[in-house]
């Protein structure tokens, strides 16, 4: 098994909770954190995956970075801050990088700043460009931890978080870094809520992926950050597969060709066969187009026996954070895989199969799957602009 890219620690915050312990319990029970909102868009009902817990305050010395996106990042980072700082001490802060993903950055705070300007003639006094620019999300984490290695933000819509992990692994392989804080954060904001509504992509119910009755996605916000090191053992990032659709800015190639290339690429990179994957976390947004093409591609690559689920009915589509959040869910499953059994995350839906969708194995209830020497899982992320990234994670028994 390929070694040398360890996902050594994880912090998460999303609609299921603000700690991995809380999230894990609800995740494996298939509980949803989505809540109905009638006031987010005029004359519309939709469901949002909000983080309702109070968030830490960005320290005063970094007040220019204060925005909800960075507060979410901080909530995730704090969960493994001790381990991160010990690693930074061990390898040297120059050898630690930050690879961050986001599609919103501090837009929700910019919305406030613009409202202030309209109503009072000047931007809100606390507003600074560092909150809004996309590179600021990475810069914030680097400044907070005092690391001086390569620091940047990848923004490729819904594959951002997965790409951040892929690049982190490469920076370690290249010898540029010995450790990377890698992951992604996105915040609920008017821009994405109104934007996806304008695309007619948003459901007025909890998203229902792969169902004949699916009506679109539910949005969410989240942060998922990992400490990635060049150590062997533990949970490893085994494979990366990537492709571009070259089809349409906001719709996938309906044949699933691009998704297939990315999935096959990840398997080849991990040097494993499709049947070695015990669980596949689908991109599964609940839109007509995504689920049809994804399941077609999954059926071609994996057949019908690989256990699959989408976790977007539980936390929503967290956009730029989705790839990292879903890698986080895979990590939690691997972490909990004791006594050679991997817990599977249920696919929450209405159970009504779409006759046009190949009958892949959607996990219908909480259960576990046995394994002998190693547990391997995969996660799909397919983003606007046709950017695809598939990650494969695994651990030895």
């Amino acid at each position: 098994m390929r070694d040398g890219c360890r996902l050594a620690a994880l912090g998460m915050v999303n609609a299921l909770g603000a700690s991995t312990e809380t999230i894990e319990t609800r995740l494996f029970a298939g509980e949803t954190g989505l809540r109905r909102r009638d006031d987010a868009v005029p004359d519309r009902t939709l469901y949002l995956g909000e983080v309702r817990e109070p968030l830490p305050l960005v320290p005063d010395r970094m007040a220019h970075y204060r925005c909800r996106n960075n507060a979410l990042s901080l909530a995730a980072l704090r969960q493994f801050e001790d381990v991160a700082r010990a690693t930074i001490e061990r390898v040297g802060r120059h050898r630690v990088g930050v690879l961050f993903g986001t599609s919103t950055s501090g837009v929700s705070d910019a919305e406030e700043a613009l409202r202030h300007q309209r109503e009072q003639g000047g931007l809100a006094p606390g507003f600074a460009y560092a909150q809004l620019e996309f590179g600021g999300g990475a810069g914030f984490i680097a400044d907070y931890l005092g690391v001086t290695g390569p620091t940047y933000t990848i923004s490729t819509a819904c594959s951002s978080g997965a790409r951040a992990l892929a690049s982190a692994r490469s920076l370690i392989d290249l010898g540029v870094c010995d450790a990377v804080i890698a992951g992604a954060t996105d915040t609920l904001c008017n821009l994405t809520i109104f934007g996806f509504t304008a695309l007619q992509a948003v459901s007025d119910e909890i998203t229902n992926p792969c169902s004949a009755n699916r009506k679109g996605l539910s949005l969410g916000e989240a942060s998922a950050l990992f400490l990635v090191t060049r150590d062997s053992g533990g949970i490893q990032l085994l494979g990366v597969g990537e492709s571009t659709e070259a089809h349409h800015m906001s719709a996938p190639d309906p044949t699933g060709a691009g998704a297939e290339v990315a999935m096959r690429g990840a398997l080849a990179d991990a040097d494993i066969a499709a049947h070695d994957v015990l669980y596949l976390n689908l991109h599964g947004t609940g839109t007509t187009l995504n689920d049809g093409m994804e399941c077609a591609a999954v059926a071609r690559v994996f057949g019908f026996d690989t256990a699959c689920s989408s976790t977007k009915p539980l936390v929503g589509h967290t956009l730029g954070a989705a790839g990292a959040t879903e890698a986080g869910f895979c990590w939690l499953a691997l972490q909990a895989a004791v006594a050679s059994e991997l817990p599977l995350i249920p696919h929450r839906w209405d159970g009504v199969r779409d006759a046009e969708i190949p009958p892949i194995d959607l996990i219908d209830r909480p259960r576990a799957i046995p394994f002998s020497t190693r547990a391997i899982v995969a996660t799909n992320s397919f983003g606007f602009g046709g950017n695809n990234c598939v990650l494969i994670l695994g651990r030895a028994a």
């Binding site: 005029p42 120059h94 599609s103 837009v107 910019a110 919305e111 613009l114 409202r115 931007l123 507003f127 600074a128 460009y129 560092a130 809004l132 620019e133 996309f134 590179g135 600021g136 990475a138 810069g139 680097a142 400044d143 001086t148 620091t151 940047y152 933000t153 990848i154 923004s155 490729t156 790409r163 892929a166 690049s167 490469s170 920076l171 290249l174 010898g175 540029v176 008017n190 821009l191 109104f194 934007g195 996806f196 304008a198 695309l199 007619q200 990366v240 990537e242 492709s243 571009t244 659709e245 070259a246 349409h248 800015m249 906001s250 691009g258 990179d269 606007f384 602009g385 046709g386 950017n387």
Partner: protein
Amino acid sequence: MLIPSIERTSAWAPGIESAEQLRAWFAAPQPLAADAHPEAKFLPAMLRRRCTPLTKIMLTAAYGACDAGELGDVRTVFSSRHGSINESIGLLEAIAASGRVSAATFSHSVHNAQAGLFSIAVGNRQASSSLAGQEDSFPTGFLEALTHLHRAPERKVLLVMGDVPLAETFAKLVDESPASYGVGLLLSADGSGPRVSIDLEPGAENAPLPPWPAAFEFLRWLDSGEPRLCIQTPRRTWTFRRR
């Protein structure tokens, strides 16, 4: 550490649109202008209509750095400090004014819009990244290109760096010389062009950046034959060396 070779470069800025104009700029470098963008007539009309000024600039740089036959085969990295922020601000103002946004404008305001439109225009299905790194957007773009070369050393990587000035609303909050520009670099793991390494060194060298974009300073340096270029940003010091 992987040392790429630079097979080809391209550049666009107002008044710097040909090889001769670029050479003249190398001989007498000065701050770039900010008030124009190319027409990008090489793009199909339907697609060109959906392109923002930044997209036309970055696609001009992209096409300029590749042979026609290569456009569909290269992996791509698009780096921009501000990306589509101006369009996002426009969308926020539209929401505030009318409670609605244009679906098309929204889907083209993602940071990877340039990468997505490029891939559609040339039928490129290879892996692609889009990034932003504050004042370090060019050197981190170069690093991200190296990660692509590392994962697929048999394929060239097209790195495009570009920006347009921030809209007035936020421009006063940022200390930078406004410029409209795009630079393209075609990198390979083992080609015949000049080999250039990148190193990130801690500490300041007291070598402040000249008042033009780092990517343009890189092109000037590449053309000059000097062995080393030090790019110092507020938080990092980067060194490029000819190998």
